[in-house]
Amino acid sequence: MPEIDTGNTAWVLVSTALVLFMVPGLAFFYAGMVRSKNALGMLMQNFFSLGLVSVLWVILGFSLAFGEDVGGGLVGALDHIGLANLAEIPGFGDGALSIPPLAFVAFQMMFAVITPALITGATADRLKFSAWVLFLGMWSIIVYPVVAHWVFSPGGWLFQRGALDFAGGTVVHINAGIAALALIVVLGKRKGWPGDAMPPHSLPLTLLGTGILWFGWFGFNAGSALGANAVAAQALMNTHIAAAAAMCGWLVVERLKDGHASTLGAASGAVAGLVAITPCAGFVGIWGSLGIGVVAGAVCFLAIQLKFRLGYDDSLDVIAVHLVGGIIGSVLLGLLADSSVNEAAPDGLLLGGGTGLLVNQLIAVGATLAFSGIISLVLAKVLDISIGLRIDDEQEAQGLDGSQHAESAYSLGDIRSMGKVA
């Protein structure tokens, strides 16, 4: 066993808690944007990921993602089921990492939890809870650990090729974004979309959620340095600057196009910047993160129009923000990677490093899109045929809160009588 570094360990443990906190952050970011009758349903789909995916991760998911490589970089072996034999995880036995393996397992668990939760924004207001539970479980075994293995595990084929992903541009954002698209292709539109008004019920909740996400993202990105070091500091600063620049970029374009700088625009822009910087956080300098942020803010705003052009109901713009933002970050990394920031990265094309990294980034993006997209589509189709993905029209009119959970998010005032307990 290598020496445990207490500073590194402390930072990874704290980062684990920061990423955990992103789950309620995301839940409130989304819940504020839906109509009040669906607020609890949205919160629950996110919170439940903490329940189910954590359980699956320690039993099976971690081993599939980070176990000894099987099949030439395809998936991890089953020798860490139930977190057995953790000392033998690649990267630990050889002394490359100076944190306890269990800290790494916990940190990566939070990534596995929040990634599928991102999908729920696309399917808002109409996905049956039981169908979500099954999709979430199957996706967290069949899709997430496989892509995580490809990219994050030293044995993974994309890792071996030299494709870079600091904290999950492909594994988290493109992976969830394309899965969201696959799911809504099968699920269909909300009744009345796009003609009927479906305005957010509480943008203050959305802004609060954005603040929590932003806070937690420091753990997500800077924690991915897996140590308390210079790369972590660079990742933290890049994360913040990209979010800030993307907020500015989004609001400028929104003001020019729609006439106002909106609070929802400020929140959405910040998240778009956080998404785009995720793969780049520990690999680019400050000018790189500024550029990535501005581009992500402006392009993700414009990408929202795609759903109206193409007619898919991506209710809370998971595709425009996470899929498009993830692709922007992953591809721009091929241009802007800076070996003076992190010696683990080659220079990108604009820093004189040639096209090698860019090609690897494009391959990683393409492979994630293809694998996650196809498997997610199959999972969605199987569920739709077997138990049905959608709630019925009456339940949709009633809302997820009442129809799926027999609760209501808001019971304000004295007049609404609950009657007597039978």
């Binding site: 008004a197 305005p199 957010p200 196009k257 106002h260 929802l264 705003f301 929202i304 109206f308």
Partner: protein, 112 residues
Amino acid sequence: MKLITAIVKPFKLDDVREALKDLGVDGMTITEVQGFGRQRGQTEVYRGAEYTVNFVPKARVEVLVNDADVGRMSDAIAEAARTGKIGDGKIWVTDVDAVVRIRTGEKGTDAI
């Protein structure tokens, strides 16, 4: 006995209340309502999707008054609620057959 019902701009509610209090009114009922008249709704834009809000928030004021007071009461409300801009609202007066104060059982004008 008459019931004066006034639909006014919500931010004018305090002015209306003060004006009526000055005339000796002891009570009134307020409801938050929505509707439209000549004033049209507003447009809201969420991530590029434009919604028209057709109904505008207003406050509904209801006051029970004696027949003799109707004129100056409704004048006072109109005076207090007026901004001169579109959407100032409306006042109407209806006959009331009976009034009962629940606590004391007083009836008619005694109960106003």
